[in-house]
C-alpha cells in the first residue's frame, strides 16, 4: 500500500460519500480522500492531472447517477493517457443487486472489482490492492 494514497469517490449520493470518506480514513489514516457528486466534474478534474504521481490511486465509482452513469464515466475515462492512469484501480461501488451489473463490473477491463454498498473497513481490507507504482 502506498504511503499516502489519493482516493477519489464519485457518487451522486452525498451520504454515501460521507460514509466512504470516513471509512477510508479509518482504514488508511494517511489517505487523501476527495469526493464528487457530479461525475462530469470528476472527469474534468481527472483530465487536468498531468502525471501519474498525483493521479488517484483508487476510484470508487457508482453506477446509477444522473446525467452520466458509471459506464459512461468509464468510457470517457479510457481516453485519459494510459501513462497517467496506469497506477489507478477503479472499484465499482454500487447498491445494485442486479447480477448483470455485478458481472459487467467484474469483467470490465478498466475495473478492478465490484464492492457492494455500504463501504466498510472490512471491505476495504478485503480489496485486492494492486501494486502502486
Amino acid at each position: 500500500m502506498a504511503e499516502s494514497p489519493l482516493v477519489l469517490i464519485v457518487d451522486d449520493d452525498p451520504i454515501n460519500n460521507f460514509i466512504c470518506e470516513k471509512m477510508i480514513l479509518r482504514a488508511w489514516k494517511e489517505a487523501q480522500v476527495s469526493s464528487f457528486t457530479n461525475p462530469i466534474q470528476a472527469l474534468e478534474k481527472l483530465q487536468t492531472i498531468p502525471t501519474a504521481s498525483i493521479f488517484p490511486a483508487y476510484i470508487f465509482l457508482d453506477i446509477n447517477m444522473p446525467e452520466m452513469d458509471g459506464w459512461e464515466f468509464l468510457a470517457t475515462y479510457a481516453h485519459i493517457p494510459e501513462s497517467v492512469r496506469q497506477g489507478c484501480a477503479i472499484y465499482i461501488l454500487s447498491s445494485t443487486i442486479d447480477p448483470a451489473d455485478i458481472d459487467r463490473a467484474n469483467h470490465y477491463p478498466l475495473v478492478s472489482g465490484f464492492v457492494s454498498k455500504p463501504l466498510t473497513e472490512d471491505k476495504i481490507a478485503a480489496l485486492q490492492i494492486p501494486d502502486c507504482a
Binding site: 451522486d12 460514509i19 446509477n64 447498491s95 445494485t96 443487486i97 454498498k117 455500504p118
Partner: protein, 496 residues
C-alpha cells in the same frame, strides 16, 4: 320381381346398427309369394322398432296412403271378381259356382290387408329416412349445402341460411359466388378454380356491424342421382368465436409478457429504491460505533435523512403497486379542472413559495378514465414542472386538452429547464433515470407516468427545448376502443 330389398345388420346383430336400403326401380312392388313378403315384413318391422327413438309417430295422416292403396286394391279386386263371375255366367252358365266367388273375394280381402301392412311399413320407412335427412342435413349445426356439377345449389340447410343470411329459396339454382359479397365471392371462386384444395378457404363476411370468419370445406358426393356427374357437399363453419378466443388468448399472452417484463423492472427498481437508503443506514451505523462526539451529530443527521428516504421509497413503491392493482377500479367521468385542483392541493407546500402562473385551455373538459391513475400522472407531471423550473424566470404552466382522431390529448406545457432529448429521449421513461444533477430525485416520476399511461391504454410523449421548456402530452384513447375495463373481444377485431 320389379325391385330389390336389401337388408343388412351389423356384425353384432345390434339392432341400432341395422342398415336398411331399398331400391325401387319401377312402380310394381309385391307380386311375389306371401312367404317372401312376410320375411321382408319382419325385416321392416325390426328396423322400424330399432329406430323408434326417432321423432316419427304414425299419425292418422301417415296411415292414409296405405289405406288408400289397399282400399283401391280391394275395390278393384272385388269388382273384378263380381264382373268376371257375371261374364262367366253369360258365357258358360253351367260353370258358375258361388263358393268359387266367395273364395276369390276372401283372397282379395286377405291380400288387401297384407298390402295395407306392407305399404304402411314402407311409408313409415320413408318417413324415417326423411327424419334422418332432417337430423343429418337440414338441422345440422354445421352449415351445409349440396351443389351440382355447375356449382348451383340443390339443397341447403337451415344453418347455412342463417350463416350467410340468405333465405332458402334464394339459394336454389344459384351459385354461391353470386350470393356472396364481392371480396368473399372472389376468394370463394378462386378456391373453386384451384380445384378446391382440401384445406378449404377462410374468408371474412361482414354482417351488419360484425365481422364473421367463415371457413368452407368441400367433399365430392359421387351419387348418381339419375345423372353421371358428381355433386359437391359444401360445409361452412363459423370460426368467429374461435378466432376471437385465439385473439383474446394472444392478447392475454402479450399482456402477460409485458407484465412479466414490468415485474422484472419493478424488482430492479425496488432493489435500487430500498437498497440505497438501507445501505447508507448500515454504513452510518458502522461509523457510529467508533465515532467522535462531533462526528456522531453528523451521522445522526444523515441517519435521519436516510430513514426519511427509506420511508419515501416505500411510499412510492406503494404507489406503483397500487397502480398495478387498480384493474378492478371502475372507469368514471373525470373533470380535468377538478382533478388538477386536487393535485395542486397535494403540492400546496412547494406551490406556496413558487406561485406559478397556471393557465387552462380545456377544450375537452372531462374524460372517461380511471381517476386514481390519471391523478397520479397529473401529480408527477406537475411536480416535475415545479422541480425542473428555470430559476431565472417565473414559472408558467399551461394545461390544455383537445380531441384528436386517436383520442383526447392532455398537454402540460412549461417554461422550465427543458430536457436534452437528443441525449435522453430513449431513457426518459425508464426507471431510476435522472437527468439533472441540480435536483435530487428518485428517477421514478416519469417511469410511473409512462406505466400508468400504458395501463390506461394511452401513451405519453414529450417535446422539449433545452432552456426553453417542456411539453408532456398524454393521449388517452376514446373509451370504446379502450382496454379498460376488459373490452369484449368482439369490439376490437382486426379487419383483413
Amino acid at each position: 320381381m320389379g325391385g330389390d330389398i336389401v337388408c343388412g345388420w351389423g356384425e353384432t346383430m345390434d339392432l341400432d346398427l341395422v342398415t336398411f336400403e331399398l331400391v325401387l326401380s319401377d312402380a310394381a312392388p309385391f307380386s311375389g309369394n306371401v312367404c317372401q313378403l312376410s320375411g321382408i315384413c319382419y325385416c321392416i318391422r325390426e328396423v322400424c322398432l330399432a329406430r323408434k327413438e326417432l321423432p316419427v309417430k304414425p299419425s292418422a295422416q301417415s296411415l292414409k296412403p296405405a289405406l288408400w292403396i289397399s282400399l283401391m286394391y280391394l275395390i278393384f279386386g272385388c269388382f273384378w271378381i263380381v264382373f268376371s263371375d257375371q261374364l262367366l255366367a253369360v258365357l258358360a252358365p253351367d260353370q258358375r259356382s258361388l263358393p268359387q266367388t266367395l273364395k276369390g273375394l276372401f283372397y282379395v280381402g286377405l291380400t288387401s290387408v297384407l298390402l295395407w301392412g306392407l305399404v304402411n311399413a314402407f311409408w313409415q320407412h320413408i318417413r324415417q329416412q326423411e327424419a334422418y335427412f332432417r337430423l343429418l342435413f337440414s338441422e345440422n349445426a354445421l352449415a351445409m349445402w349440396v351443389c351440382d356439377e355447375t356449382f348451383q345449389v340443390r339443397h341447403v340447410n337451415r344453418t347455412a341460411c342463417q350463416l350467410f343470411n340468405i333465405s332458402e329459396p334464394a339459394w336454389m339454382g344459384q351459385t354461391l359466388t353470386a350470393l356472396l359479397p364481392d371480396t368473399s365471392a372472389q376468394l370463394f371462386q378462386h378456391w373453386i378454380d384451384q380445384g378446391m384444395p382440401v384445406s378449404g378457404v377462410t374468408f371474412t363476411l361482414l354482417q351488419g356491424d360484425s365481422l364473421r370468419y367463415v371457413h368452407i370445406g368441400q367433399q365430392p358426393l359421387p351419387l348418381s342421382l339419375g345423372r353421371r356427374h358428381t355433386h359437391h357437399l359444401f360445409r361452412a363453419e363459423d370460426l368467429t368465436e374461435r378466432m376471437q378466443a385465439e385473439h383474446h388468448q394472444e392478447r392475454l399472452t402479450q399482456e402477460l409478457l409485458e407484465h412479466n417484463a414490468d415485474l422484472m423492472a419493478f424488482t430492479s427498481l425496488t432493489s435500487h429504491l430500498l437498497r440505497v437508503p438501507a445501505a447508507n443506514i448500515q454504513g452510518l451505523l458502522v461509523l457510529y460505533e467508533q465515532a467522535s462526539e462531533g462526528e456522531k451529530q453528523a451521522i445522526i443527521a444523515h441517519l435521519r435523512t436516510s430513514s426519511q428516504e427509506l420511508e419515501q421509497a416505500i411510499q412510492q413503491l406503494n404507489h406503483i403497486v397500487m397502480a398495478r392493482h387498480s384493474v378492478q377500479t371502475a372507469v368514471e367521468w373525470v373533470h380535468l379542472g377538478t382533478l388538477f385542483a386536487e393535485v395542486q392541493g397535494l403540492l400546496a407546500e412547494p406551490l406556496e413559495s413558487l406561485v406559478p402562473q397556471i393557465s387552462f385551455d380545456l377544450q375537452v373538459p372531462q374524460v372517461q378514465t380511471l381517476k386514481s391513475s390519471l391523478r397520479t400522472i397529473f401529480y408527477h407531471l406537475f411536480s416535475n414542472t415545479l422541480k425542473f423550473r428555470c430559476p431565472e424566470r417565473p414559472l408558467t404552466v399551461c394545461i390544455s386538452s383537445r380531441q384528436t382522431p386517436q383520442g383526447v390529448e392532455i398537454s402540460f406545457q412549461d417554461n422550465g429547464l427543458g430536457i436534452d432529448l437528443e441525449r435522453y429521449s430513449k431513457q426518459l421513461f425508464l426507471p431510476y433515470k435522472r437527468f439533472h444533477t441540480a435536483n435530487y430525485g428518485k428517477g421514478l416520476g416519469l417511469y410511473l407516468v409512462a406505466t400508468l399511461s400504458r395501463f390506461l391504454g394511452g401513451e405519453v410523449t414529450v417535446s422539449s427545448q433545452l432552456g426553453k421548456g417542456t411539453i408532456f402530452s398524454l393521449l388517452l384513447p376514446d373509451l370504446h376502443n379502450q382496454h379498460i375495463p376488459e373490452a369484449s373481444p368482439a369490439t376490437d377485431k382486426v379487419s383483413k
